[in-house]
């Protein structure tokens, strides 16, 4: 395992971490792009999904959206935005990633709100809650677990996809991998792969804990929850 040694040597060199465009710089770029993309997707997807779920319409639309989005290669969208007048750079990457994060957030939010027991909604209305209160105080807490599954799926997907930005001259940790390939330096390639994989797993774990923390009532840690789904129903899986 010569290359593994080379990878560890790469990771063990403080200069590789601290120099300009070193690991720290790239990691911060990666995180900034990912956080903004997920935040935009949540800001757009959660209200729309909640409203559609609340009025019980648009199910076919959200399912179609998530199925079609699976067929669009992430690389294609990243590239297409880079060759518009926006130009390649963090903005194009962020827009493409936000678009990719939208379907899982939207669909899971929709399914979460749609799945709330109608009796609960009726009871809330009978207690004199306004529509707004029904939405925010009765349906939202019950929809939180699925909503958070959507956010977690989207976040892991975005962190993973942000790596691909390096293929079209973007920033982020993927750059270590692409640069390594270009220089035939498999030690750097492996080191980059390790960092990216660790970041993705850490994101998954962090958001599992966050979703545990924000879920009201009896709860359990959502590790290993089944995330793939059958066509046409349930939650949406990410594309790695």
């Amino acid at each position: 395992m010569n290359q593994l040694e080379a990878a560890l040597r790469y990771l063990n060199d403080p200069l590789n971490w601290s120099r300009t465009n070193g690991i720290i710089d790239l990691l911060l770029q990666h995180l900034r792009i990912s956080v903004i993309a997920v935040a935009v997707a949540v800001a757009v997807g959660v209200p729309i999904g909640a409203l559609l779920g609340h009025i019980g319409r648009g199910g076919a639309f959200t399912v179609a959206l998530s199925n079609v989005s699976r067929a669009v290669p992430t690389l294609a969208l990243l590239t297409v935005f880079a060759v518009t007048p926006i130009g390649f750079g963090p903005t194009a990457t962020t827009i493409a990633l936000a678009l990719f994060a939208l379907p899982p957030v939207l669909t899971n939010t929709y399914v979460g709100f749609r799945g709330v027991d109608r009796d609960v909604v009726e009871a809330a209305r009978a207690m004199g809650m306004s529509e707004r209160q029904v939405l925010l105080r009765a349906e939202l807490p019950l929809a939180v677990p699925l909503l958070m599954t959507g956010v977690r799926t989207a976040a892991v997907q975005v962190v993973a996809t942000a790596t691909l930005a390096a293929l079209v001259a973007g920033g982020g940790l993927g750059r270590i991998i692409t640069l390594g390939f270009r220089q035939q330096d498999y030690g750097a390639v492996l080191a980059g792969a390790l960092l990216v994989a660790l970041l993705a797993v850490a994101t998954e774990l962090l958001l599992a804990v966050v979703s545990w923390a924000v879920t009201p009532g009896p709860r359990r840690l959502a590790f290993g929850r089944v995330r793939t789904r059958q066509v046409g129903a349930g939650t949406v899986a990410a594309t790695p």
Binding site: Q3, N67, R70, A71, V72, P73, T74, L75, A76, L77, T79, V80, A82, V83, V156, V159, A160, T161, T163, L164, A166, L167, V168, A169, G174, I177, T178, G180, F181, Y186, V189, L190, G192, A193, L194, V196, A197, A200, V201, E204, F223, G224, V226, R227, T228, R229, Q230, V231, A237, A238, T239, P240
Partner: protein, 224 residues
């Protein structure tokens, strides 16, 4: 000011497609070969794993946990992990793709097998069905919708994932996407690659839906 701004650079250009037809076909061929091989190999490995996971509860946990972990690893990192071993070859891409399709397939296969009602199995056993005949004639037909759903999801996402193979020079139609990007942002080439990928995924999905219909004539009869 880029040179790209001065020269016309249309998004759609039929003349690009016609004059580069053989190149496009070659990349399309690689794309299809990689996808079919990845899903087939994935299914061949996933089936025994799903059968094992169903048999014992303590195996199901690790199998599903491991598959979640594999699915979390970004595709570029996956190819980067494999590349030092197999080099800049299509094999590198294939191994990564098989791992991802495997993950989707194991879960759907397991869900399908678990959806077979216990009393149906018992009735078959009572009629003298052995484990092999039971699988082919009772369990497989009943689990087929779930199996096919998994194969469709795996196929569509594999078609999209093949493009990441450009990192080792074997990305099928993805080569057109990065090729166009590197050729001074040549939009017609990029769009051809991107649209080709989406069309390929849709065609594959339709073909599989047709296959599912043909394989489950009883479902059609029940609906009619």
């Amino acid at each position: 000011m880029f040179a790209a701004d001065a020269a016309p650079n249309p998004w759609f250009d039929p003349s690009y497609v016609t004059s580069n037809w053989s190149t496009i076909l070659a990349y399309l061929g690689e794309h299809v070969r990689l996808t079919v091989a990845a899903v087939l190999l994935g299914a061949l490995i996933a089936l025994p794993l799903a059968l094992l996971a169903r048999r014992s509860r303590w195996l199901a946990g690790p199998v599903l946990g491991l598959s979640t972990l594999v699915y979390t690893i970004p595709s570029l990192a996956m190819f980067a992990f494999v590349a030092p071993i197999t080099g800049l070859s299509a094999t590198t891409v294939l191994i990564g793709l098989v791992l991802y399709s495997l993950v989707v397939l194991v879960r759907n296969f397991l869900a399908g097998l678990q959806s077979v009602p216990a009393d149906v199995q018992e009735a078959a056993r009572g009629m003298g069905y052995g484990p092999v005949r039971m699988f082919w004639q009772v369990e497989l037909p009943l689990a087929l919708p779930s199996f096919m759903a998994g194969i469709r999801v795996a196929t569509v996402s594999t078609v999209a994932l093949v493009t990441v193979g450009v990192i080792v020079g074997h990305g099928g139609l993805g080569q057109l996407i990065t090729g166009g990007f590197n050729a001074n942002f040549y939009r017609a080439e990029i769009v051809t690659g991107a649209v080709g990928c989406v069309l390929l995924a849709l065609v594959a999905d339709l073909l599989l839906a047709g296959a599912e219909r043909a394989l489950t004539p009883w479902a059609r009869r029940a609906r009619a």
